[in-house]
């Protein structure tokens, strides 16, 4: 059975407000509420709710035959709960239909996988928990932020117990190979890897309304025609796109909703393709080969690498400064600190610092609040300065705790020592009684009183030291 895998990404960062160096140390609220709320409200209305409606319609018509997967970042969930709870409800309704699978990702939509495994695991677990709470599903398939993937990250994800992971079908990784098969990780082959068909995905997400494109206009029939033309052996076509494609990147007027509405019908009628979720593909298909990705890839830009987030000195500096706080933050049990820590990790903050669009001139960051990457960097670093001041001010308290921990360890060591002495004492006593028994037979009385006195003294001293 050949299949299409539809997966939609939903993420919106908490954008930072204009934070001057004057605010450092005085102002601990970093977010531009007005901007964030208006963006969420706009995208919810134009895209999320509209598209959910269309998908509900499709599911009503085709039932569980039709399948779709979503990944919603924890930060996006937080924002939706704050500004557009109706979107969450709408997803909850979809979750109940049985046609929808929710994927796992990092809570913060962060690039932590490149930096720190412990923190990576923590963020994934937190996100998992949130998905369970909201949608009553336990994700078995993982998608990393921006589809960032490497052999090493894949192996880490496999360690967390996931069955499959999604990434880009990057040309430089695949070479002559096709993304339309299931692959597996080269370190731990138990982890299946689904590769994005970037041509057909981008046809929808980027080129759909481009009148200069040779295939314009794209209709469901034309799309199904492409599916039919694929090699008969190819098993899956993975369409991984941003959910905002519907109604925001491609406006309603472009006919994108009509395209989506018509697609399942046309696919069922004219091709032998069906729809599956990533977890179904992972369990139904056999991996055709391992895929070797020694250096991280992503789904961004022509290069499909990390240069959009970690391509220049500003980004690298900010990224390293942020993660230099990891250990300290982990020791702080403060709700506000933990929340800011999550929100400051969003990959978007680094994306705004990219200087790549200087050269290609084309890609303007979506909803980028900054005019230049320099502004983005300065603003972020100001916020981060304040954040690290807060973190450092809380650390002394926990060094006290550390001291207490150290002291209890000392006590434990002394207790152990006590035990040793006690057992030694017992041994000595028993040997003494043996000697006594031996001496009794030879009748020597005076030794007894002196020898039993000194162990008693020791006994009363030792517990005191232990209590201290």
């Amino acid at each position: 059975m050949r299949t299409i895998c539809l997966y939609f990404q939903i993420h919106q960062p908490f954008r930072l407000k204009r934070y001057r160096f004057f605010n450092i140390g005085n102002d601990h609220y970093y977010y531009d509420d007005f901007l964030n709320e208006s963006i969420i409200a706009r995208v919810a209305e134009r895209s999320y709710l509209q598209t959910n409606k269309v998908i509900r319609q499709i599911i009503k018509e085709y039932g569980t035959q039709f399948k779709v997967a979503f990944s919603i970042s924890g930060i996006a969930l937080d924002q939706l709960q704050l500004y557009a709870p109706e979107v969450i409800e709408s997803f909850q309704k979809l979750a109940k239909t049985g046609s929808v699978e929710f994927l796992s990702e990092t809570f913060s939509h962060s690039l932590v996988a490149l930096k720190n495994k412990d923190e990576f695991v923590r963020q994934v677990n937190e996100h998992k928990q949130r998905i369970k709470e909201l949608f009553n599903q336990e994700p078995t398939v993982f998608r990393n932020t921006e589809l960032v993937y490497s052999d090493k990250i894949g192996a880490d994800v496999a360690d967390m117990g996931f069955a499959a992971m999604l990434t880009e079908g990057a040309r430089h990784v695949l070479g002559w190979k096709s993304p339309n098969y299931l692959y597996c990780n080269s370190i731990n082959p138990r982890l299946k890897v689904l590769l994005r068909n970037f041509r057909m995905s981008d046809d929808i997400s980027f080129r759909f309304s481009n009148k200069g494109w040779s295939e314009f206009p794209l209709t469901a029939e034309k799309f199904a025609g492409w599916l039919k033309k694929l090699d008969k052996k190819e098993e899956t076509v993975n369409i991984f796109i941003d959910y905002e494609t519907f109604g925001e990147h491609q406006w309603m007027e472009s006919g994108i909703f009509e395209f989506l509405t018509a697609l399942p019908g046309v696919v069922y009628k004219s091709t032998n393709f069906c729809f599956s979720t990533p977890s179904e593909i992972a369990s139904n298909l056999l991996p055709i080969s391992t895929i070797s990705v020694p250096y991280p890839i992503s789904w961004a830009d022509e290069e499909r690498d990390l240069t959009s987030w970690l391509g220049n000195e500003l980004q690298v500096d900010a990224f390293n400064k942020l993660y230099s706080l990891t250990d300290k933050v982990a020791r702080i049990n403060d709700e506000k600190i933990q929340k800011d820590w999550k929100y400051l990790q969003a990959s978007d903050h680094f994306y705004y610092m990219s200087t790549k669009f200087f050269s290609d001139g084309a890609t303007q960051a979506y909803f980028n609040p900054y005019d230049t990457p320099y502004e983005a960097y300065i603003n972020y670093m100001n916020v981060l300065s304040d954040f690290s001041i807060r973190v450092n001010s809380l650390i002394p308290e926990s060094t006290d705790e550390q001291e207490i921990a150290n002291l209890t360890q000392v006590i434990a060591e002394k207790d152990e020592l006590l035990h040793k002495y006690e057992s030694e004492l017992k041994k000595l006593k028993s040997t003494k009684t043996k000697i006594k028994a031996a001496a009794k037979s030879t009748a020597s009385v005076p030794v007894k009183g002196r020898k039993s006195g000194s162990p008693k003294k020791e006994k009363t001293n030792l517990p005191k030291a232990g209590k201290k």
Binding site: R20, F21, L314, F358, Y377, I378
Partner: protein
């Protein structure tokens, strides 16, 4: 193609961006094949010889006419020096002061209007407009004596000369607008200057503006047809090795520099306000205002009022290598200009690896990407940018690599190529 160019200052007599631009452009033109330039330059560096004007009175222009070998780039450069006390950046008010000082030395000057009719009153030329007109007279005589295909006049003081040359020769005129009086005066435009500027622009067949900012002023404030105005951004000459040399620092503090004329146009007061903000948060930083001008005393007074004098230093006017010395000591260069038609000094700072903060109200901000841009009035943003560069090491690292590369790619040849196209479009 032969160009009659009314330009300004040539090395070693350079006092500002205008001379640098003229020099760079001529050099660039030479490398794109326009190597026959008749360069008319007012000989105005203090040792000007006013006696030559007497000879105009006799109906004959004697001008020093020499061919100089600027060995490295110009095989042949035809220089025509004209004795006049005109100097760039003159304002009518300044000129009056200056020429009154010179009155005793001068013997005889003509009074004329540049309509072609000369009226020799024999009075003293103590006002700039008369001198400009005299320059125009000389220009018309030159235009009569030499053959050329196109006239190129730099900055408003030379426009009348350009117009006169056009009237005599019938050749097309290109005026090059390096600044308008709207930039220099901050809005309170001198009507006499405006009139000359407008006359020059109207008489021109094509106008070259140094930035889109200036182009818009030309179109909007002078009512010129937009089809006639072309933007050609300036470029910058690569620095010599000795200019790039890093100097030893005597203090550990970070240094933030303002370098330019201390006049309203350059916005020095915004620099001081930003400095005041930064100093409230940072201790190990010093601010330097290098340059002089009519606002200098007010600036010193302001610094004293804000009680930041121990961290804020004035150097006075810097020239030659001192400028590069200053750059090599700087950690940040700030150009808060209120209205800057182009602004070449940030480019020089970038050549010296100094991160720059420039106002959005400058022509140079149209072409720079690796610079922090702020609105000149937004002193908080300016202070924030200064703080950021001093505090977060990512920025200087970034600038060291990319800004230098960017500025090294701004070549006069590219600008000259565009100027050549302008010439070709006006020569029928």
């Amino acid at each position: 193609m032969r160009v009659l160019m009314f330009g300004w200052e040539f090395p070693p007599h350079i006092s500002g961006g205008l001379g640098t631009a003229c020099y760079g452009l001529t050099k660039g033109l030479h490398s794109v094949g326009v190597n026959d330039i008749l360069f008319v330059v007012p000989k105005a560096y203090g040792d000007e010889d006013i006696s030559k004007v007497n000879i105009i009175d006799a109906g004959e222009v004697v001008i020093s006419d020499r061919i100089i070998d600027y060995s490295t780039f110009f095989q042949k450069m035809h220089f025509i020096e004209v004795g006049t006390s005109l100097r760039p950046y003159s304002t009518p008010e300044e000129y009056e002061k200056l020429s009154i000082e010179n009155q005793e030395k001068s013997k005889y000057l003509i009074q004329s209007s540049f309509s072609g009719k000369l009226s020799f009153s024999g009075g003293y030329g103590h006002d700039l407009f008369k001198e400009i007109a005299n320059y125009a007279v000389v220009a018309s005589i030159i235009a009569y004596q030499y053959k050329f295909d196109v006239i190129h006049a730099h900055d408003w003081l030379a426009y009348p000369a350009g117009i006169a040359a056009k009237l005599i020769s019938g050749k097309p005129l290109v005026v090059h607008v390096h600044a308008t009086d709207f930039d220099r005066s901050g809005g309170s435009v001198n009507p006499g200057v405006y009139e000359i500027e407008k006359a020059g622009m109207e008489a021109a067949d094509k106008i070259i503006a140094v930035s889109n900012l200036t182009r818009n002023i030309i179109i909007e404030k002078y009512g010129i047809d937009s089809n006639k105005v072309v933007t050609v951004h300036n470029a910058v000459e690569p620095l010599a090795d000795h200019e790039l040399q890093k100097r030893e620092r005597s203090i550990n503090d970070k240094i933030v520099t303002f370098l330019g004329r201390v006049t309203m146009q350059k916005g020095p007061e915004y620099f001081i306000e930003a400095a005041h903000l930064v100093l409230q948060k940072m201790k190990n930083v010093r601010f330097v205002m290098a340059g002089s001008g009519d606002m200098l005393n007010r600036m010193i007074w302001r610094v004293a009022t804000l009680k930041i004098g121990s961290r804020f230093h004035f150097t006075g006017f810097l020239k030659g290598d001192d400028v590069y010395h200053m750059f090599s000591l700087s950690d940040v260069y700030v150009m808060p200009s209120i209205s800057e038609p182009f602004g070449i000094s940030p480019l020089e700072a970038m050549q010296s690896n100094v991160p720059v903060i420039i106002s959005r109200q400058s022509g140079v901000s149209e072409i720079l990407q690796h610079a922090i841009k702020v609105d000149f009035w937004d002193t908080h943003a300016m202070a924030d940018a200064i703080y950021g560069i001093l505090k977060y090491e990512g920025l200087p690292k970034m600038f060291k690599i990319h800004a230098k590369e960017e500025v090294d790619n701004l070549k006069w040849e590219h600008a000259a190529e565009k100027v050549k196209e302008v010439y070709q479009s006006v020569i029928y």
